[in-house]
């Protein structure tokens, strides 16, 4: 088994902030917009370095998305920053018409996604955003797993032409992917090799999948662990190749099972290589207040839950 070391817990939103800072220095066309959450999104440094390229729009997300769409006309690359809920559900039609349908090069950067937002509770914990965004034609959907990957993804999407939804989180989590990684949009990252089951995970669940694989290994079960940072376009080749070998799959995400990564994988497999699948995801419910760990435990989004799902799915082969 490959070994992965947590080099020290860091929040993925800081990866976004640091990536944006770097982009600010190397790409003059990058502009940033924020809706009264500059500190939470870690956009302070970009703002200080480039006040003329930073736009504080106030608590007005719909206007922010519309402005960002307009700023692409003439060649700017706008990065918008607010919580995931206010980045998607709040402004869905603005994104749909002004960004996606109009084919604008806007990078919608969304922090505090999912349950791990914690104590603020369900009004702020969106578990539907991946679904909302992946349903939009032409939208690229990325959900990164740690600080390093979020930083790399932030930098990479500036060079990609087209609308992108970049989803990340609030809490400090294990930082284990390489600092110098070459982030390739749409390319799955194989983290472990195994033969008994494929675990396809995204976001905060990737580390949990690695932890689960360790436990499974101790029990003689070997898993392919695939980090799907890009949910759309999905790396069909990597997933099918793995499932052809293992014969079953567990998907894991901090999102509702309706509309998430799991459904994308199920659609792919059902048309190309049907196989038993189990879903680690929330079960069509809203979240609630609590600490991130308590919530991930209560809603079954952790390594232990993945291990159980593997037991179930391998029995169904």
């Amino acid at each position: 088994m490959k070994k992965y070391t947590d080099t020290g817990k860091k929040d993925t939103r800081s990866g976004f902030g640091d990536g944006l800072t770097e982009l600010g220095k190397k790409n003059k066309d990058v502009v940033a917009l924020c809706a009264d959450l500059t500190g939470s999104l870690k956009m302070d440094e970009f703002k200080e370095n480039h006040p003329e390229r930073f736009f504080q729009v106030g608590i007005a997300e719909a206007n922010m998305i519309g402005m960002a769409a307009g700023m692409t006309i003439g060649g700017k690359i706008p990065f918008t920053g607010t919580f995931a809920n206010f980045s998607t559900g709040r402004v869905y039609d603005q994104i749909r018409q002004s960004v996606a349908y109009s084919g604008k090069n806007v990078k919608i950067c969304a922090s505090h996604a999912g349950l791990t937002l914690g104590e603020d509770g369900a009004t702020h914990q969106i578990l539907e955003d991946i679904g909302l965004m992946k349903m939009l034609p032409g939208m690229t959907v990325i959900n990164t797993c740690d600080y390093n990957q979020t930083k790399a993804a932030t930098i990479a999407i500036a060079d990609f032409e087209g609308p992108v939804y970049l989803r990340f989180g609030r809490p400090k989590v294990a930082n284990f992917t390489p600092a110098d990684q070459n982030f390739q949009i749409g390319k799955a990252v194989q983290l472990q090799e195994g033969t008994d089951v494929t675990i396809v995970a995204t976001g905060h669940l990737v580390w949990e999948a690695l932890e689960a694989a360790k436990t499974l290994n101790e029990n003689g079960v070997t898993a392919d662990v695939i980090n799907i940072h890009t949910i759309k376009p999905l790396d069909a080749e990597a997933i099918i190749k793995s499932v052809k070998k293992t014969g079953c799959v567990v998907t894991a995400e901090e999102h509702n099972f309706l509309g998430g990564l799991g459904e994308s994988v199920a659609r792919l497999l059902s048309t190309q290589h049907p196989a038993p699948q189990e879903f680690i995801a929330t079960q069509d419910t809203f979240g609630e207040s609590g600490t991130p760990e308590q919530l991930m435990d209560k809603y079954g989004l952790n390594a232990a839950a993945i291990v159980n799902a593997v037991t179930k799915v391998t029995a169904r082969k």
Partner: protein, 281 residues
């Protein structure tokens, strides 16, 4: 005539409740909550006509909607101390499996709450809906709403503000917590809103100021005047000039405590400025 001593005591106890709730879970929003303590105490004790039993429909009583849901600590404290649920339940604020969610919600069935809020800018619309239903039901009671000043930057408010005036929703009193602060700084710094009073007036509202928004007497007399303005074909807006973090010296006049909990030492300091009156939960 209101018993001001009793109300003042209640305000101090509410401040303690706010501080202790956010301190315990190291999260939540003390600044805006403290700034609105007097308003909530006046509203629930002197202004609203309320039935004893909570029902979702709230027929034949006044209704209140909190649009700026992040100031839930003050809302929960005043609801509990008005008998909607046990005061001890304040101990569960923001904990797993609690009815006292980070932002107010109907989802867990907490008495006193009629709609979820937290995502800003939606409360005036809901209040207009409830006010229209009161009219359809021939219920002459009023609908009260509180929203933040930064919150008014959300466009939906202005859709609602336009609707209410254009359609003579005159059984509605919207108070604005005009503390001049939001998350990233002062409202003037984040997004200058110009003359809020003139804006409401231009949209056709009857607007009045309560300059001393942290003074019980001023709030009660001001809100009574606002009440008299209802029923005259215009919705009523009250600009409540408050101080964010009011009652705790180091939290006042700054956005720094918008969404930050005090540490142990700061809590002790803050509580010593507000000694127990009615008893802690």
């Amino acid at each position: 005539m209101a018993d001001y001593k009793a109300l003042e005591d209640l305000v101090i106890q509410v401040r303690r409740d706010i501080l202790r709730q956010v301190h315990k879970v190291n999260s939540g929003h003390p600044g805006g909550s403290l700034g609105c303590a007097e308003f909530f105490v006046a509203l629930y004790n002197e202004l609203m006509e309320r039935n004893d039993d909570f029902t979702m429909d709230g027929k034949n009583e006044d209704l209140f909607f909190l649009s700026n849901g992040h100031i839930s600590p003050v809302f929960y404290s005043v609801l509990a101390r008005s008998g909607y649920f046990p005061v001890e339940e304040l101990n569960t604020f923001r904990l797993l499996n609690s009815r006292l969610q980070g932002h107010p919600t109907t989802h867990e069935g907490l008495p006193g709450i009629r709609i979820a809020s937290g995502s800003l800018g939606q409360g005036i619309s809901a209040s207009i809906g409830a006010a229209l239903t009161k009219k359809l039901n021939k219920d002459t009671h009023l609908v009260y709403t509180l929203c933040g000043d930064g919150e008014l930057q959300e466009g939906q408010n202005w859709e609602a503000i336009m609707y209410a005036a254009g359609n003579k929703v005159d059984n509605l009193i919207v108070s604005v917590d005009l503390n001049g602060q939001q998350i990233d700084g002062s409202t003037d710094h984040v997004l200058p809103m110009g003359n809020v009073k003139a804006k409401f007036e231009a949209f056709g509202w009857d607007v009045m100021d309560i300059e001393k928004g942290n003074d019980l007497k001023a709030i009660i007399s001001g809100m009574k005047k606002a009440k008299e303005k209802t029923g005259n074909g215009k919705p009523v807006c009250v600009l409540l000039h408050t101080v964010m973090g009011n009652g705790v010296d180091f939290m006042m006049h700054t956005h720094a405590w918008h969404g930050k909990a005090p540490n142990d030492q700061q809590l002790e300091d803050a509580l010593s400025q507000n000694p127990v009156t009615l008893g802690d939960y």
